[in-house]
């Protein structure tokens, strides 16, 4: 029976840890990374909470051993840290030995630098090196160069579902024999642009977010990066690789309802979950844990809940949103939640949905609120983005 595409390594940096192990420790110790914003000067600093990574850009540059005269945006710095951990974790010593690609996702790109030097670029030249790091593809090119990948490098940007689509494309290319190995995931840093953008939509919470709670007041933005290494069955066999999970199902559909809001009955989300199950050749009752998109906005959590009810009926599996730990990390969200889904499979544990008290009255779904020891075989992860992009991934125990 076809199990899916093998995952042989992963790497992550988020507000709850700089490595996979650190993230896992925080998850089981219920240590979230949400706080007031420290590194960005904004008039909103006392009215928002964020999932900010402690390390400064200088510290990241030092950690990566980059020359002082570099033009890395924070997005690229975070991405390179996570991608390097993933490649190391997959025990790849010679990247050239097989046809290897990188598919990365981002929505912020180098905007953190562009907004910093907006007017000063015209008066002085010292920061003009950052002009070239603004476009989304730049972070992927830098990460690929640092890893020595040249066979296939591309970047996806579909708002909050971006890295799910990166993982999906990677899996499809391995299945089709187009690549032997691919590093897939995403990266986004905090920026004034996104903070203000989300502020104008009035969906930022002033306190720690409460996914799936009746009294939720919006999301917390976060920053993070995470990557998985996917390898073909041939490599796994030949190199006797340890497989940590399989990408067994995936789907991408469009809600086609509104530019930023999800449809009331969660049509796009329903189609995505159903299709992912089909690809995985699984039924709803085979899913042991749903790592939900659960941003804690009024709209998403209701819409996603309705979609979950439509797909799973009376048998809703254990469910939680780990955005209560990390905040919503935009293009990186699906990738970090892929790491958490795989950790759940590896360690037989389901991570809690923090800050929950009361079920949404219209749907009554109750998430897991304690660290739950449970053996899972199949985990479903949702990521829904602006523009109606609905993506679902299913990870299965190896």
């Amino acid at each position: 029976m076809y199990k899916g595409v093998a995952v042989t390594g992963m790497g992550i940096i988020s507000s709850i840890g700089n490595t996979v192990d650190e993230n896992f420790q925080s998850l089981i110790e219920r240590k979230h990374g949400i706080s007031r914003i420290k590194k960005i000067e904004t008039i909103h600093k006392n009215s928002i909470m964020v999932g900010e990574i402690d390390l400064s850009n200088d510290e990241l540059i030092h950690f990566l051993g980059l020359p002082e005269n570099n033009n890395y945006s924070r997005t690229a710095l975070l991405g390179e840290v996570a991608a390097k951990e993933a490649v190391k974790n997959a025990q790849i010593s010679d990247i050239d030995s097989y046809k290897t690609g990188l598919i990365s996702a981002t929505s912020v790109g180098g905007m953190d630098m562009t907004e910093k030097y907006y007017y000063s670029q015209f008066d002085e030249s010292k920061n003009r090196k950052f002009i070239e790091c603004h476009p989304a593809g730049d972070s992927s090119t830098k990460i690929a160069k640092s890893l020595g990948i040249n066979d296939f490098v591309t970047t996806i940007s579909t708002a909050c579902s971006s890295s799910a689509n990166a993982i999906m494309l990677g899996a499809r290319m391995i299945k089709a024999g187009k690549l032997d190995r691919v590093i897939v995931g995403g990266t986004d840093c905090l920026s004034k642009f996104t903070i203000n953008g989300f502020k104008t939509l009035m969906i930022l919470s002033e306190s720690n977010c409460k996914p799936f709670d009746e009294n939720r007041t919006g999301l917390n933005l976060g920053e993070a990066a995470a990557y998985l290494v996917l390898e073909s069955d041939e490599i796994v066999k030949k190199e006797n690789k340890k497989v940590i999970a399989h990408v067994s199902g995936y789907a991408n559909t469009n809600d086609a309802f509104h530019q930023t809001a999800s449809s009331d009955n969660g049509e796009g989300a329903t189609l995505a979950m159903k299709k992912a199950l089909e690809v995985a050749n699984l039924s709803p009752e085979n899913i042991d844990y749903i790592n939900a998109h659960g941003t804690a906005t009024s709209n998403n959590d209701k819409s996603e809940s309705k979609a979950i009810l439509r797909v799973f009926g009376d048998n809703i599996p254990s469910l939680s949103s780990t955005k209560s730990y990390t905040g919503h990390t935009l293009a990186a969200a699906a990738a970090i939640e892929a790491v958490y889904s795989i950790l759940s499979l590896q360690k037989d544990v389901i991570f809690p949905n923090l800050n929950y008290k009361t079920a949404i009255s219209e749907t009554g779904i109750i998430p897991v609120t304690e660290v739950l020891k449970k053996r899972s075989y199949h985990v479903l992860s949702n990521s829904f983005g602006f523009g109606g992009n609905c993506s679902t991934l299913i990870f299965s125990k190896s």
Binding site: R128, I131, V153, T158, A159, R172, N254
Partner: protein, 352 residues
């Protein structure tokens, strides 16, 4: 992989390419260093209620995709895959400027929403109520090629048709920034065209080109999209090596290529990638270029593909495109080569 045929095209560019009888005979070489697209009458394509909130890039994309679908006779695509290097720049620049000028106060959401890279693909889906697979690629000069690769994969896996396109718009602030770092060609050097300019940078422009790809060859098929490969940052030797490998994988030798379409943009620093191939292994191949008609932007290779399709259909090569005087009896295999500033190289193979 299943066969892939180009059955519909829509093109918005610096030339009047949305006109039904658009022809290279009527196109004029660009003489300015920043050129906006020739705008069609948007109201004939888009409902007023939707136009009001649409960014320039979105309008161009909606028109180009409509034209492509009309030509292919499709109402609802089974996948929508879009490439864009910079997304909707005008709105992104606008939101950022307001943010900084007003010190984060009194900001409104519309330009923020429009600035997300996947806005074009999303708006096309919204207008059609299309719930199918929808992805946006944002990798500089291979954004369009990435979309094509995904499209070809989709056609093999599960669908019969795919709408694929490339869109990029000019943003005033971003253009000014790029002038600071010599990415925009000095207008004074353009008096004799881009190839004679011997200066840094390229003509900046904008456009949207969409294609309907199908599994089936039809009466109105332009060409078969046979294969394509992208290479991020090769040396010149690696490039040659990869090209020969690419041709061999498709059972072709250099002499089987009837027409080479290159993305020469007159940039004295980076056109050498093209010239090295054009003067060596392709010196006996018919060669054309196109960026003197449409300028440079991250997804401009889609205009190259538009050009290739028109030439494949007409089996003639207009003088305005010619780079040399080699002639061939018939055009059966076209190779397109593009790169931007030495990165994100792509080879695309079209066959009759």
């Amino acid at each position: 992989m299943k066969s892939c045929y180009i059955n519909g095209i829509g093109c918005v560019s610096a030339q009047n390419t949305t006109r039904e009888s658009a022809s290279f005979k009527d196109f004029q070489e660009l003489t300015e260093n920043v050129v906006s697209a020739h705008k069609p009458n948007y109201k004939t394509f888009i409902k007023p209620a939707m136009i009001r909130r649409m960014a320039n890039g979105v309008k161009m994309g909606v028109v180009a995709s409509s034209l492509a679908m009309n030509e292919a006779g499709i109402d609802l695509p089974q996948a929508i895959i879009t490439g864009t290097g910079m997304g909707c720049l005008i709105d992104s620049d606008k939101f950022l400027k307001n943010l900084i000028d007003n010190k984060e106060e009194y900001l409104t959401p519309t330009s923020f929403i429009q600035s997300t890279h996947n806005t074009v693909g999303a708006q096309i889906a919204l207008g059609l109520e299309c719930k199918a697979y929808n992805v946006t690629y944002v990798h500089a000069a291979t954004s369009f090629e990435s979309s094509l690769i995904d499209g070809m994969l989709m056609l093999t896996e599960e669908v019969d048709n795919v709408l694929v396109g490339g869109v990029d718009e000019l943003g005033p602030y971003t253009t000014e920034l790029h002038k600071l770092i010599d990415h925009v060609k000095d207008e004074d050097s353009l008096s004799e065209g881009i190839l004679a300019s011997k200066s840094k940078g390229a003509i900046f422009s904008e456009g949207a080109q969409f294609f309907v790809l199908e599994n089936e060859k039809k009466k109105n098929t332009y060409a078969e999209l046979r294969a394509l490969t992208i290479i991020n940052t090769p040396t010149e030797n690696e490039l040659k090596h990869k090209l020969l490998l690419f041709l061999r994988e498709n059972n072709l030798e250099i002499q089987d290529i009837d027409l080479l379409i290159c993305g020469n943009n007159g940039d004295v620093e980076f056109d050498s990638f093209y010239l090295n191939l054009q003067r060596s292994i392709f010196k006996n191949t018919q060669q054309v270029f196109y960026k003197h008609l449409c300028g440079e932007y991250n997804t401009v290779s889609a205009f190259g593909m538009y050009t290739a399709c028109q030439l494949m259909r007409s089996q003639t090569v207009p003088d305005i495109l010619k780079l040399n005087n080699v002639k061939v009896e018939s055009i059966r295999n076209i190779l397109l080569y593009n790169q931007y500033r030495g990165e994100n190289h792509s080879f695309t193979l079209l066959s009759l």
